[in-house]
Each structure stands twice: as C-alpha cells, then as structure tokens.
C-alpha cells in the first residue's frame, strides 16, 4: 500500500550531514511507505530536510519495522537519560 501518512515536525536547532556536508535541519518528515532502496515492501522513512538549501539538503533513512522499533527504544532511553544529565 501507499500509506501517504506523513508526520512532519519543525526542527529548530539541529544539524544533519548530507552529500554536501553539514547543514542546519529545518524539517523532519516521518512516514511508512515504499522504500527507494531497502528490501522491504514498506519501511519507516525519515527525511531530515532544509528546504531553503534545496532538495539535496536531505538526510534520509529507510528503516525496517524492527529496526525502527529498536531506534525508537534507543531514542527514548537516550532522551530520558539526557533529561537527568
């Protein structure tokens, strides 16, 4: 299926490294849809973007569902421990 479902967040003070090097990230989109490269029917895809710098200012990942869950748990654990840092 094409889910089309997209979560979009504004990113205020973060950076990503794309083909042209580091750039300030302004937007992140998260969606479950067909991957371009990963060998799954569907993946959790994340695009970190800076539209002002053009479409090439993009860090993209396509995560299998198990990998996405593991990443989510890792983020959760890291963010919680950071709160007590």
């Amino acid at each position: 299926m094409c889910t089309y479902r997209t979560e979009k967040i504004d990113v205020r003070a973060s950076s990503g490294k794309g083909p042209q090097g580091w750039f300030p990230v302004r937007t992140a989109t998260v969606y479950y849809d067909h991957p371009v490269h990963a060998l799954h029917d569907h993946t959790v895809n994340i695009d970190f973007l800076n539209p002002e710098l053009g479409p090439g200012a993009r860090v993209a990942v396509e995560l299998g569902l198990d990998d996405a869950r593991a990443l989510l748990a890792a983020l959760q654990a890291t963010v919680e421990s950071a709160a007590h840092h």
């Binding site: 094409c2 989109t29 371009v36």
Partner: protein
C-alpha cells in the same frame, strides 16, 4: 525486418500556469499515425522505472510522455530527493497536476504522428490522477493502477493535499481500465467495490481486473511488491485496452 527505432529524450513542455516543466518522452521513428500515452508517475517520483515504462509504450507503438510532477518542488534533483521535497510540501496539488497533464496531452496531440487519440496511465498516487484526467482532460481512455483515495477519505490530520473524487465520477468522459491487488489496503478491495459501483451507477464504460496474491505496486519490477503473474496479465490487459481505444476513429 520490422523497423523499430525509438527516440527517447528529456524535453520541456508548458504545464500549469504556462510554466516550463521537465518531461521524458519516447517515440517510435516510423511516420505513424498513432495514439499517444501519458504516463503518470507514482508518489516515489519521476524515476528510472517510470521512464522505462515510457520507453515500453514507445516500443509498443505509441508516442509516450511522462511529466515530472515534482519539478517545481525540486528542479533537477534526484527523483527520491524530489519526492521527499514534494511530500514535505504537502504533495502535488490537483490543479497543478491537471495543468501539467493538459500540457502533456497537448504535446502528444501536436505530434505530426498523432492520430488525435490519447490515453493516460497512472500508478499509485498516479492511479487517482489518471481517473482525474478522465474527468478533466480530452483523453480517449484512462488506466488506474491501484490509485488510492478515489472514493475513500484520507485519515484525519492527513498532511498530503489529496481528497476523494467520488462526487465527480459522473463527469468521467473516457473508458476506464482499473487494475488492483486484492491484498492492497489503499485502495482496499471494498474501496475498489465502491468505485466500481459508482461507475456502474453513472453508466460509465469501465473494465476492472483484480489479482489475488498481489498488493499495492505489483507492477514495480524493482520492489519486493512485484508480482509477476499479476503484472504479466495486467500488461496484457493494458495493451488490449489501448488497442481498442487508441485506434484511429
């Protein structure tokens, strides 16, 4: 031997608002006359496989074109980057699609080889746009390959600018071929039933084929969703449908 030369190249066409928009074209080099095919790419973009489909139609004897519907979001970008930019911008607005598709249909009709007849085919999000083209444009046939949100509402809070066109199906003015996978959820078999019911009630000419063991994107040769039996039968249905509707009237 049969003369089978084909010319494939990128060109610019005038789309919505008169904008110059990138398009990929492929044409047999014999003098014609012949029908034209507008290929509407899937949501992942104006990619290598979409261009391969354009060339396939030329090999089958049609002038063919695909417009880069993500051109304005990301001119010159890689197809996957352009698709991501389009998604972040809320998708392709219907009025812009209609303007770009009208420009492509005009380009086909203006070929000296044209017999004046044009069909559209769309995959994934392009399936819905193919149905829209049969409502909005002067085309003689349209092919919807698993287009979602033709009849169903997108979920609440949905950020992509897409809305059902069920209320407009009475205005469909071209025969419609629909190809669907029974394992698809967008569109689900129930949604395909609903589309078929509405077309029947409006007295439209349509032909639907549905495949067991196939889901969304079963024509995609570069994806795990590819289903060879469904794709082979689907291509046969497509060529038969076009032979009927793109013949010189």
């Amino acid at each position: 031997m049969h003369y089978d030369a084909v010319l494939a190249e990128t060109t610019g066409i005038r789309g919505a608002d008169g904008d110059l928009v990138e398009a990929y074209t492929a044409r047999p080099m014999d003098p014609g006359p012949r029908g034209g095919m507008l290929v509407i790419h899937h949501m992942p973009g104006y990619d290598r496989e979409s261009k391969e489909i354009v060339r396939r139609f030329a090999v089958e004897g049609y002038d063919a074109i695909a417009v880069n519907l993500h051109w304005r979001d990301a001119p010159g970008a890689d197809p996957d980057d352009a698709a991501a930019a389009s998604r972040a911008n809320g998708g392709v607005p219907d009025d812009r699609f209609v303007g770009d598709a009208a420009g492509a249909v005009r380009w086909l009709q203006e070929r000296p080889t044209s017999n004046g007849r044009v069909a559209t085919i769309g995959f994934c999000s392009g399936g819905r746009q193919a149905v829209l083209s049969a409502i909005e444009l002067d085309v003689q046939a349209a092919i919807d390959c698993y287009g979602a949100f033709v009849t169903a509402e997108p979920p609440e809070g949905f950020p992509i600018r897409v809305r059902p066109i069920a209320d407009r199906l009475g205005d469909v003015r071209a025969p419609l071929l629909g190809l669907f996978g029974n394992d698809d959820r967008n569109p689900s078999p129930a949604q395909v039933d609903e589309l078929e019911k509405l077309l029947r009630e409006h007295g439209k000419t349509y032909e639907f084929h549905r495949y067991d063991g196939a889901g969304h994107a079963f024509f995609s040769v570069d994806r795990p969703a590819y289903r060879v039996a469904a794709a082979l039968d689907g291509w046969q249905r497509i060529h038969t449908f076009l032979a009927t509707h793109l013949r010189e009237g």
